[in-house]
């Protein structure tokens, strides 16, 4: 026992004495052993009670164990126009559903064939669904195989249910849109969830046979409109009948969306655009509140019918829509970009004033064209035409009002005559910079899917995308909204709105507010202004006055409206291939705002293969006439 005399690191204890204490230790260890036996004894007793005594009872419960969690789907939120006119309803409809677990093995084919006769869906598809659900880890949730059954079909099916184990008739609401054509591009539609979406969303309570927003507001506001699914724990018997509900988490109905769109205005805008578009393949118009960015009307022609996507999709109608060269499924107000033509002079003009390139008194003479010496071949001249040859010498107001191309060639690219720079222009970089500041070349951030960003060219872009150096002619074309620059009608209406409201580039919206299922208003938290252009108020005043003159006494005179002073700019943009006679196809534009003194709304009208003053501006005038002289009056306002 010598090791006890020295302290050693591993020996922390004195030796255990023999005798009484050793016996005490042995006793204690005996009791711990007893504890082990007792613990497992207790467990064994309880286990014997459950498995041996009550085993039969539990076995029966396991066999009939149909304790299921049934999802409780929330009611989807509704959509209203700005005055509370409902634009959609959830209409109850019958649907045929299958509970895969209850379809007896071996009978999948028979039942699918029987269903095919009753509901008209191919048996192979039904069978595939049954087999897939059987193999999944949730074969109990009823899986809809055919929606929107007619009452007769539902009745016939219900009569046959006894012979079709696993088949159910369930009630599944169908989205039915009012104004389903007029509002199609804004409302969008809901459609069946696809495999990829289901994988992504199943943890958020989406079901295998769920529907979700696929376009328009239905898509953008999906998470709010949908609500939150609840669940119900039910015990069912072998045939799937619910015996008792053990607990329920109620579903939270979705929020309703109140659009900023005024349906009356929208309807009138559509009528006017359709009437005024002539042979144009497409046309679009946007009316926007210049202070809030709320879109009051947004029309894209042609449109489609949102209701063809409700219930079972009408395949023939869908085929027709997707093969139509006018692309009716596309919202031409936001999803397609076009050369803005002379409406772009709003940007060139503002930029020239702000950068000190021009002022109200800048006088430029237009002999009807501008000859520019080739940058590489001396002595060779390129002629850039004005749209008229009799414009003469103009100040800034007149230059914009008459939409002189030569005037804006000077502002954009300057002019060199006989090797001497007679006018210093903006140059492509500053012009591109201003175009971007006005919101071109980027999404406006509107709450609708599928927005095009448009295109703002600059020398670096051309070098990279076209593979050619930037020429002076590119700057000239850029300055009058031709060449590479392209924008959506929505982007262009925001340009006029920014000039109207003092320089705020707005973030537009089609939704004014939200509403709870109980009808309480919930303000929509959103950013109204993307950026302020920091424009000198004197320059703004010059721009506005020039746009007023364009309508009062200039190229946009067809936009005049009684009782209201309109300020605006037309555009007739060449596009496509040059025709043999040297002309091009043209798009027609008008963008502007009213009233001049106290701007309320901005409007853009775009007509594919139209003409600015000829087709677009008159439609804009009729829209503004309706808005100020009828709609506002009808809503209790006074004549302007």
């Amino acid at each position: 026992m010598g090791y006890t005399t020295g302290r050693r690191p591993w020996s922390s204890d004195p030796p255990t004495p023999a005798g009484d204490e050793a016996r005490a230790v042995r006793n204690k260890i005996f009791y711990f052993g007893l504890l082990v036996v007792v613990v497992f004894g207790v467990l064994s007793l309880q286990l014997a009670r459950m498995q041996l005594v009550n085993g039969e009872k539990y076995r029966l419960r396991a066999e009939t164990n149909r304790l299921r969690q049934v999802p409780v789907m929330p009611a989807r939120g509704l959509i209203y126009d700005r005055d509370g006119v409902p634009l959609v309803e959830n209409r109850p409809a019958f649907a045929a559903a299958v509970v895969a677990a209850d379809v007896p093995d071996g009978q999948e084919v028979d039942i699918s064939l029987a269903l095919q006769d009753l509901i008209g869906r191919p048996a192979s598809e039904i069978e595939a669904i049954i087999r897939e659900r059987k193999d999944s880890n949730d074969p109990f949730t009823p899986q809809v195989v055919k929606e929107n059954l007619s009452n007769e079909a539902a009745f016939r099916l219900r009569e046959q249910l006894a012979a079709l184990p696993g088949v159910r008739v369930v009630v599944k609401p169908v989205r039915v849109y009012h104004e389903s054509v007029l509002m199609s591009h804004i409302l969008g539609f809901v459609g069946p969830i696809d495999a990829e979406e289901y994988e992504r969303l199943k943890d958020s309570g989406y079901q295998y046979d769920d529907r979700l927003g696929k376009a328009g507001v239905e898509y953008t506001y999906e998470s709010l409109l949908r609500g939150v699914a609840g669940a119900r724990a039910v015990e069912t018997d072998a045939s799937g009948r619910e015996l008792r509900v053990l607990g329920e988490t109620p579903a939270v109905p979705g929020m309703s969306v109140v659009l900023s769109i005024d349906v009356d205005l929208q309807r009138r805008v559509e009528e006017l655009v359709k009437a005024g578009m002539g042979k144009s393949l497409n046309a679009a118009a946007v009316v926007i509140d210049v202070h809030t960015g709320e879109i009051l009307a947004m029309v894209s022609i042609p449109n489609y019918d949102s209701n063809i996507f409700s219930g079972e999709v009408d395949q023939a109608a869908l085929e027709k829509l997707s093969s139509d060269p006018a692309k009716p499924m596309l919202n031409h107000a936001i999803s397609e970009m076009y050369p803005p033509g002379s409406t772009f002079k709003q940007i060139t003009g503002t930029a020239a004033l702000q950068e000190g390139v021009a002022n109200a008194g800048t006088m430029i003479n237009s002999p009807g064209y501008l000859d520019v010496e080739d940058e590489y071949v001396p002595g060779k001249f390129h002629r850039f035409k004005d749209w008229r040859s009799d414009l003469g010498t103009m100040n800034f107001y007149r230059g914009l009002a008459m939409s002189s191309d030569v005037y804006f060639y000077y502002l954009a690219g300057g002019y060199v005559r006989d090797g001497k720079r007679v006018f210093e222009g903006l140059g492509p970089s500053r012009l591109a910079d201003w175009a971007r500041r006005f919101g071109l070349g980027e999404a406006t951030g509107v709450d609708l899917p599928g927005e095009s960003e448009g295109l703002v060219p600059d020398p670096a872009w051309k070098e990279q995308s076209v593979g050619e150096p930037w020429l002076l002619g590119d700057t000239y074309n850029f300055g009058i909204g031709q060449g590479y620059v392209a924008a959506t009608p929505l982007q262009m209406v925001l340009v006029s709105a920014a000039i109207a409201n003092g320089g705020d580039v707005l973030i537009p919206t089609v939704v004014k507010e939200l509403r709870t299922a109980e009808g309480q208003s919930v303000p929509l938290k959103r950013q109204t202004v993307k950026r302020n252009l920091n424009l000198d108020p004197r320059n703004l005043a010059i721009m506005r006055e020039a746009m007023r003159q364009a309508v009062a006494d200039g190229s946009a005179f067809t936009a005049q409206v009684r009782n209201v002073t309109v300020a605006g700019k037309t555009g007739t943009a060449e596009f496509g291939e040059r025709r043999p006679d040297g002309t091009y196809k043209e798009h027609g534009w008008f963008t502007g705002f009213a009233p001049f003194n106290n701007p309320e709304v901005a409007v853009a009208v775009f007509m594919e293969q139209g003409n600015g003053a000829g087709t677009a501006a008159p439609v804009a005038a009729r829209i503004l006439d309706y808005y100020f002289n009828q709609l506002k009056v009808a809503k209790g306002g006074t004549l302007p």
Partner: protein, 372 residues
Amino acid sequence: MISWRDPRPFDFVLLAAAVALTAYGLVLIYSGTLNTSGSSLAEVVRGPVGRQMAFALVGVALCLVISRFDYRFLAQGSAGLYIGLIGALLFVLTIGAQEYGSRRWIEIGDTRVQPSEIGKVIVILALAKYLSDNSERVKDLRVFFTSFAIALVPALLVFAEPDLGSASIFILIWLGMVIMAGADMRHVLGAIGMFVALAPFALIIVVTDYQRERVSVFLDPARDALGTGFNILQAEISVGSGGLWGKGLTHGTQTQLDYLRTQTTDYVFSVLGEELGFVGAMALFALFIVLLFRGLRAAAISQDIFGRMLAVGIVIFILFQAFINIGVNIRLFPVTGIPLPFISQGGSSLITVFIAVGLLESVIVRHRQVTL
């Protein structure tokens, strides 16, 4: 002379029982994950079974290394380990990973370490060290309270996670070890009396809503038939329907149709109960009893107090983890989230119990060296 060369007989029965339990667990995890992981060999190896097997190999390796190692060296390091543990638990509480409403894990890459598991062994070491150093004065109230504090601090920290189950394990380990150390039985009974008297107050004041909810759901599962109550009911049906022989491995309707949740961790015993029945459960109990008795034997043959304390602590630890986990499955206790040692899927738990077995082996291997 102390012989370092000739280690005493390694307890192969102990290790065999541990390995057999682990293998049993692998079989149950295989069955429990069949419809989520697939059944081909490649899928099994890549899935939870393969992962658990890898943990088991690490565990056995650690066990063998530790058994070659003199456990008394660990006595010296126990204070440091203890401080590290408290730090880790504080870390978990503040920035640990959260799941099912509690913070119990530290995330390292994509693995999650649950420090309260290895913490139980560290507290056993710390208590063994303290109680053996103070074995002379173990009847002093001061020593009694100090030892209690050693267990109480980590217990409170895991309680706050909240992990009521692990907190009780810490207290039970302490209780077992002070009794073994020879504490005054009046003190021990006083402490037990105090726990019993304080329990109702604790339930009202200290225990969080989450834990109270678990207790009330335990009393009436239909109350929360969608959540925890669903699991309790389904576990009960699973075990009960297993009967004497069970429905056969991989043939349990409850297990295979996903009625059981967390069927490889908290409710792994229900898989056993359903598929292998009462007989399968008795086999499991037999393995546990063999393992625990070999642990007690280690305590009995250990000639130093530290080794004896260590062995008893480990036996209590494994015994009560098993008791509480199985008890939850058969509706003796409310849901706590204590893993079933050797069986439940999870690396922290498995490696910890193998370290514990390694310590037992270390005590056994060296028992003669002290007596010379």
